[in-house]
Symmetry: C2
Subunit: 202 residues, 2 copies
């Protein structure tokens, strides 16, 4: 099975006015997504923010659950938080994964909006089932991709990943849709559903 | 399609020592699960706690997003929170649904543990696919069930629903499992995955 990583991006993302901003790190995002990653066999979960103080805050929370009274209270949290890495930028995540695997990860974007790619765009839409098969090694690798390819799934915060980040991705997963027109899931809920679709045993 | 309701139970649930307790209402549970319910066409989301002050707190938060500055800031939250109902007990939820549909809902339990039912137990295990088919009306109704049957999915907080509540349910969904042995999803993540499995368009 290919190694799957997840990155939660706090910059660059849009705010409600479509301005590019740095969103605040939400404590519960780190906990919830780490637990979902741990359940679904994700190799590492990167929390990405350029704000030094916010990375330090997350490090302190991780330390609380790993070693302190938190570990005694609920040891299952430290197991999940052991998956968490802190990086200042997406580039830092890519370099870290390259150091582990000897090759850069393939980037996969997620978005609540359909990403419009131009005819000359390098980003290809991919379905959940197709990405699942690729991760399982059930279907062949594309150009310049290997069977033991690391994959990096990008999750946006705020009002979502910027076009610039979406355009950098090789593949784009479509929005999660239910039977209703409403599509404003929390990033925590979206991460859980995406990982279940890609990794639940069948 | 059968009407599906969701109830988030704060009493009776277990704590980490397997004592029966009333858990605190977590603000983010209400928001996240309401948004997931709205996405997946759930007819109503009940937050169940016997603590008057906690029901009053949730009511105040709902009011903030429905009418106040919150609505101007993010109108999608009020749309989701319109699904939320407050009840003091599971029995209150059943009575409310009976008042809407003219019949009591069929109860479906969820649990991170496998529920051991005795030979004479009234609770039947059901798979996600089978429940999905039942909700779609694709398979026939059981004894004493009708095609327009309302369904009520129970979510536990704390360390899970008590045996007493599990035994009251007609059907029991199995634990969500990924490829790893770890199964400590947040109730927010579990709710999102369960609704996606039962209701995502295929």
């Amino acid at each position: 099975m290919g190694s799957l990583y997840v990155a939660l991006i706090h910059y660059p993302v849009y705010d409600k006015n479509h301005d590019v901003v740095t969103s605040a790190v939400t404590n519960i995002d780190v906990h919830d997504i780490a637990r979902s990653c741990c359940t679904y066999g994700v190799a590492g979960f990167y929390v990405v923010t350029p704000v030094d103080a916010l990375r330090a805050l997350v490090r302190r929370i991780m330390h609380h659950w790993a070693d302190g009274d938190g570990h005694d209270y609920n040891p299952t949290r430290s197991e999940a938080l052991a998956l968490v890495h802190l990086e200042a930028s997406l580039e830092g995540v890519e370099i870290d994964i390259e150091a582990r695997h000897g090759r850069l990860p393939l980037l996969v974007s997620t978005s609540a909006r359909s990403h419009q790619t131009g005819a000359d765009a390098a980003t290809v839409p991919i379905t959940y089932d197709d990405l699942r098969a690729r991760l399982d090694g059930a279907t062949g690798a594309g150009d310049g991709e290997s069977a033991d390819q690391p994959w990096l799934l990008l999750l946006g915060t705020g009002w979502g990943l910027t076009e610039e980040v979406l355009d950098r991705c090789r593949y784009a997963l479509g929005p999660l849709r239910g039977p209703s027109a409403y599509n404003h899931l929390s990033v925590r809920a979206a991460a859980a559903i995406i990982l279940d679709r890609l990794r639940c045993p069948r």
